[in-house]
Symmetry: D2
Subunit: 323 residues, 4 copies
């Protein structure tokens, strides 16, 4: 699945080297904050549209994000070739503000391919790698297997690793005991938790509190609850369209304005569900079109929303006062 | 399943009449606060031990609870006869402080039996009825069916109804749209949410905010997060053993001391999981023995913990500083 | 839930005593054959309609069934009082042909209630008891707990016990190792398997082949495959309306006419799914009305089919040539 | 994920052209029979061991299989690069007997990548392509999306397409209505059904009987039942070690010797479960070592069996008389 390094040797490397990004002794990199998981824009003939990508980045760059996640689930990474995955990251590295973090999804099914992709992501400018759990053989993905996988990747990676647990896509929950063990690795800095189980999140935070390990919420739907329980940020699909509002929710939580935070959180739940579980990436991209970004089509087999679905999607935004 | 009224005619009615508990015009009863779901003590020969029940109540009465839940899932209600269910509630009504609320589980599989049990619970002194979703025919338990069920029960009940959603036991999630519809009923005052999905809880709170409808967390594991998102209390198995601590968590949340709340919440997650999902009622009862209450055996087919399980249970308390 | 014996002392006992039904030394009772799980007819005001029950029995009595299952899931047993459960069995015992077997559902959540109900069912004329897995506390229903439960019931029952595994209703699969252990009990004669997993059924048959233990398919949808793998019959909701056809499928399988059996089996799958998983008991009862039986309403919270559902239900029968 | 054609231009094309394999007018290719899903042997350093592959093929070539499946789930295809996937197929094409069929797994997440991989598989000598359902975005993999995906692939493929439904790996069931629609495509010849739901299989066979569409069982555990219901063969992991026995079961079924078939089927269930659901590919490869094939290690994150697992695996074979 992975190419030999020379094949993608022509990909432009990120302007920033890796110096300073390797795990310093003592303190790990701080990933606290809000990130949109950037979508991959396609032309009508399903080519990656790098122009639109940069255009989106310019608009997203005005929002006070901590950084950008590239090739998360919302980036349609399983539909991209290795070359495309790296090229997209490289372009975003160029286009994004220099003071933001770039978290690049580098998970593959095999440990070897994940190691190679992580190295490549580092070469094209990623600040950290977001590594989804391998899942095709989920029946054998025990704690021991997953600990071994992530340890190998973290050992060999020049950039910090963020674990990525997203059971809706993988049909798999990275066991808490595996997370606790992995939190002790000097090159594993945190986890993106997309399952929405705050009891689990609280337990992870509690059991890793001596480890300099950070938890990011994987969705805006439970962002306030995640902050309340000790998470330090979120990677939120909704931030692609309501980025300012998600960042505002962050500020309200961080400054202890919980009542205002609650009001805002409530208004974000339905829009968030609409662009994630309910209508998926086609819903997110359609909404981006409404909010002045380029959404465009998905690659097949993902399909455009039906008119009926589009109407329901719109209602989830209008009924909460966002459109 | 239900007896004719004359059969349990001999059951002692609660000292308090129903006056003042029927839904007043305008404002529904306020159920905010912390409740332990009281266990049912059995003798070695599996008879209800009313003496131990009263003894437990006396000790629980010293904790600043809002009230008591009787015949929730932790009360082993599916193992009790109708007569026992009512007798237990009657006894607790006598034994408990007069200023506390008594929420009695009255859910049965059929609507008719649920109506009758609710009426009976009111007669023996319940202040409100906690009605679990019927679930044996879960494939047909649509929103429409559940709305019809609860509406009928609420129409005919002299005491307020609290919906009870506990998917771990029922294999069923009461749909949010059904909850929203039911929240408009003048005799339905809230919901106990045991699933732990705070996004769902937030949505329910958001969509019922004009309805004078209250949400209680069904477990201590996500109590802080529930308060953060707008819940008003919790019915927590753990409160049977760490009642003061759960009430302290409530106070910290209500007074905005979120940092202290977080520390406390973290220490409660493992003990909570231990007495609920991990070791169930046998785990809870064993822990009660440790904390000066009478736990005792469960009715069959529930079985005592093995020595190995008991050791793990103890570790979940000792490692968090509670034993 | 259970009444003291005197309460149902007035229920008419079945004409047949229990003599000869207790497990003979050496050989267990033979339960091979086809059974309809009889529905419980209700009047418009939700009373049990015993007249219609007897009328249905007369018509069902002309089909070459091995016997009748009463108070299986299709009998709406969770909606009946204990008195009704026994009265229904008693009436069917009177109305049914003397040479047929009566299998009565006697499962309750507690072991004690199940023992008592089984004794009562024997008293009112049941030939064997069909005992569903307790399930409300499914998280603790380990092999050990279920083995203990069924052993106790079988030890104390004057009539043979048939295990009943129906994961669609219980959310629980009786573990194969528990079935194998229980098959050695002299008073446990077989299992009704409703899950449709023929690999599991084959394994049970293989591992109990020295035990004089019989497996019945729990649905007509996989009846042929069950015979092929070694099952000896079926308890099939569809037999309430297409009883002759289900019995014909039995004969084709038993006489090795597999090609004709296959053609017939294929035509039964959609109607079978329609009256089980797809439209449940309301679908079965509606179909009974079409086929000259009395179906009538279900007890709440089960609801009548919508006109649209009814149309789809009809299509599942007409498109296969049954209406 | 896919390479440009020139990259793998050096891969040796299969000796056989595609002539005669394109869908003839009228009659589709007949895929009836038994196939082992060939494993991919690796060296101690996780390189593909082509020598061992050919050695295994020679031994497998003596069994009366209809052909070989390459890059099914047991081939660890998600762990292979595109180049490796094609090279493995090419090598097997050379090594295998000329009169056997080669079914090559060509499924990828995107429609475009699947089309390209299918074309490549045809070029290196595959007779038909086995296309697994895309699954990462399973929440959006509606019937419409899957019909569109497979139609596109079948339209553009020079070789026939076999649908591949394996919910244990994909968390997704290809809807029956989609299968029925797709069965009408002239270049879609059948389906591999690995879920083990024979009711579903029977329904598919029934509803496609006018379509010249064949169903293969995806496991030896329910092979007899599948033949009984109308399937025409099987792709069985167990055939990698007990190939002669699986072929004998086929013959017994095809010649109507159902009693002998049943005895044999029963003895194969536990070994089959052991090398599939219970111990996965590590279990299958370990067993291959015992039976005179080269099993060897899996690629990470799959791990070797523990000594305890290995003992249980062995017992599943010895207790049924195979070792």
């Amino acid at each position: 699945m992975l190419l030999a390094p020379r094949v993608w040797g022509s990909v432009r490397l990120g302007a920033r080297g890796l110096a300073g990004r390797a795990p310093a002794e003592g303190r790990k990199v701080d990933i606290a904050g809000i990130y949109p998981p950037v979508t991959t824009p396609f032309t009508a003939t399903a080519e990656v549209d790098y122009g639109k990508l940069e255009q989106n980045l310019r608009k997203l760059g005005t929002v006070p994000f901590r950084g950008f996640v590239v090739q998360g689930s919302n980036g349609e990474f399983p539909f991209l070739t290795s070359i495309e995955r790296l090229e997209v990251v490289s372009r975003i590295r160029q286009a994004m503000p220099k003071d933001k973090l770039l978290l690049a999804g580098s998970g593959c099914e095999s440990t070897q391919a994940t190691v190679e992709m992580t190295l490549s992501m580092a070469q094209v400018g990623a600040d950290a790698a977001l590594v989804v759990t391998p899942c095709y053989y989920r029946g054998r993905m025990t704690s021991a297997a997953l600990i071994h996988h992530y340890t190998k990747v973290a050992d060999l990676s020049p950039i910090p690793i963020v674990l990525y647990n997203v059971p809706a896509n993988t049909g798999l929950d990275l066991p808490v005991d595996a997370v606790v063990t992995l939190s002790q690795h000097p090159n594993i800095v945190g986890i993106k938790e997309s399952g929405g189980d705050v009891t689990r999140m609280g337990l992870i935070i509690h059991k890793t509190k001596k480890q300099d390990f950070q938890v990011l919420a994987g969705s805006a739907g439970f962002l306030l609850a995640s902050y309340a329980i000790g998470a330090v940020g979120g990677i939120c699909a909704l931030a692609n369209v309501l980025g300012a509002q998600v960042c505002q929710l962050e500020r309200l939580c961080l400054t202890g304005q919980w009542e205002d935070a609650q009001v805002l959180q409530h208004r974000l739940i339905e829009p968030n569900t609409a662009v994630t579980r309910r209508f998926g990436i086609p819903g997110l991209k359609k909404t981006m079109d409404w909010f002045g970004y380029y959404g465009g089509p998905c690659r097949a087999p993902l399909r455009d929303l039906s008119p009926d679905e589009e109407e329901k999607l719109r209602l989830d935004f209008t009924s909460n006062g966002w459109l």
